[in-house]
């Protein structure tokens, strides 16, 4: 799918609505959300708790289908209302990457294996998977910690391993849910810059749900959600449209 024509949006959502419960207990978590993101774009999603950010993210990640609306990823229609048009698990395996507030590394696997397992799940032979996993850890500047268990890694290192894992299947879309919430501001910014680097270099679209407004200049576009509605954010800080400074490589500048 990464080889498709560049004009094809990485993801396109139309009229997404999510309703929980029925009758008196009905809650509308997401109202008529439409969105189009190109490859290489880094997009922030802001908003208070309960605004519907995670609902949108899980809908786009084919985890929690919308009640109404359509989702197309890389030109492939994947969701029509609650009906999945593809094998959601197989699609996630091949085309999506996830990063969370917590790194969510598998505790009994070391950093290398945490990345390798994602590749093996995507049917990459073990030897190739190991090689690719090492490349990714090197790309993200944690190759020297490849054989450390998650417990032995700092929060920043864990998050970079999680990003490496998310990148392992060459995703066309990376969904990140508050990936810097557990990090201090410096490390938080480094992770955000990492997303920008990945998006630009690997051609993936990145959607980041965040409360952290200190690194908003990293994003190409910023949206905010309120009461389930999505709109462009009105912020004093303007998102950066500049290409990533080659001298400021987050993978090599992050120090833990």
């Amino acid at each position: 799918m990464n080889d498709r024509a560049d004009n094809t949006p990485a993801i396109e959502a139309e009229g997404l609505t999510k309703i929980y419960g029925t009758g008196n207990t009905e809650v509308v978590a997401m109202r008529d959300v439409s969105l189009r993101i190109q490859r290489g774009e880094v997009v922030a999603l802001l908003g208070p708790s309960g605004a519907g950010k995670s609902t949108l993210l899980t809908a786009l990640g084919l985890i929690n289908p919308p009640t109404v609306g359509r989702i197309t990823i890389g030109g492939v229609p994947v969701m029509d209302g609650a009906k999945s048009l593809v094998d959601a698990r197989a699609f996630r395996r091949q085309h999506l990457g996830f990063v969370f507030q917590k790194a969510n590394l598998i505790p009994f696997l070391n950093a290398l294996q945490n990345v390798q397992v994602a590749l093996e799940i995507a049917d990459v032979p073990p030897r190739q998977a190991r090689h690719r996993a090492l490349e990714l850890l090197d790309y993200l500047g944690v190759a020297d910690r490849a054989h450390a268990l998650p417990d032995a890694l700092s929060g920043g290192q864990q998050q970079r391993v999680a990003v490496a894992r998310a990148l392992s299947n060459h995703p066309s879309l990376i969904l990140a849910d508050e990936p810097t919430a557990a990090l201090d501001s410096q490390r938080g910014r480094q992770v955000m810059e990492l997303f920008r680097k990945v998006a630009h270099e690997q051609g993936a679209a990145v959607i980041v749900v965040t409360h952290d407004q200190r690194a908003l200049d990293v994003f190409d576009r910023i949206f905010e959600m309120e009461d389930g509605r999505l709109r462009p954010a009105q912020l004093p800080v303007q998102p950066s449209a500049k290409p990533l400074d080659a001298k400021h490589d987050p993978a090599t500048s992050i120090k833990d």
């Binding site: 698990r89 996830f98 009994f108 799940i121 268990l149």
Partner: protein, 403 residues
Amino acid sequence: MNLAVHDIRHNLGRFVLTSFGIGLLLMIVLGMSGIYRGMIDEALVVVNRIDADLWVVQRNTRGPFAEISRVPANLEDRIRAVPGVISARSFVAHTIQRERRGKPLRISVQGLAWPEDKGEWLPLVAGRSLAQAHFEIVADRSLGFALGESLALGKDTYTVVGLTRGMVSSGGDGLAFFTVRDAQAVQFDLPGEAIRLERAARRARAGEMDVGRVTPLLLDRASGLAAGIPAFGPPMVSAVLVKLAPGVESARVAATISGWPDVSVHTADGQRQLLVMGLIDKARRQIGLFRVLLVFISTIIMALIIYTLTLDKIHDIALLKLMGARNGVIVGLILQQAVLLGAIGYGIAVLLGDWVFPKFPRSVVVSPADYWALAAVVAGISIVSSLLGIGKAMRVEPNKVLS
């Protein structure tokens, strides 16, 4: 990448401890089979080794191992006259209880016909078989006697000349082999006062009968040795063991002897059947039911362990699902751990059992078939017990990672 092995290595201590617990449980299951087989082995040890084709016993009894059987000692002379019989020898079996070093000691006394049967067929681990008609015994080492040790029974003292291994009765009492005469002496030993009273009573009874009044010699004999009274004859024996000539049909000889009104005849196979079905059948069923219960308990415990191990990994399983892992990856993770747990538990059970079972007071015989059966049961338990964990894992939603 084998996730199951990586998880086990990460929690090695807990896994080893759990496997050890499962191993102990499985060892008990294995031991139950062994105890049952040991009971059969012990019950049949004499019948299997004594080399008799037919057992001639008191009419309508099931033989000396099942109940009291008394046949006249001269029955063997009658049997020798039956065509096809090459030997007939008396056999005595009874149990005595004495005290030794302040503890009760039960001895299963076996009387062998001297000089035809000197006990050469016994599995000796020390010493020799019987070499004289009196005052020697070959004892099983489970009785605790030392070679050359003297043992006072009744009015005589016997010397242990040989030791056997694994020769115990169906009740678990060690066997001691005497000559028939000595076994009878032990069995019919009475205190002097009892003999005197019996002789006086016998004389009084004879004096009141016509036969006593008209034959004064009988009155004299009635007050003397029992052996001196032809009507009493020599003491009774438990059974007569018959050996047939090669090619002789045992059923035909058995039918001939069964025609006599005072005896019943059992073939060696019949004697084995009687022992297994009659004597240890209830124990067999009891042990069998207990074994089934243990298998159920093992399954439940293993299922709970696997379920708990799965619960510990529920977040990781949700993550794997989110990454798109097929169900096979997740089922494999749980199933492999269950099978490994079962396999290691089985190994521990076998090793521990081999070490512990010989130390049991009674024989525990584990056959290759028992090992295979337990392996199959463990495989079954492992699969069944993993179902609970697999069911839980299958229900986990990938968005659990976000919570």
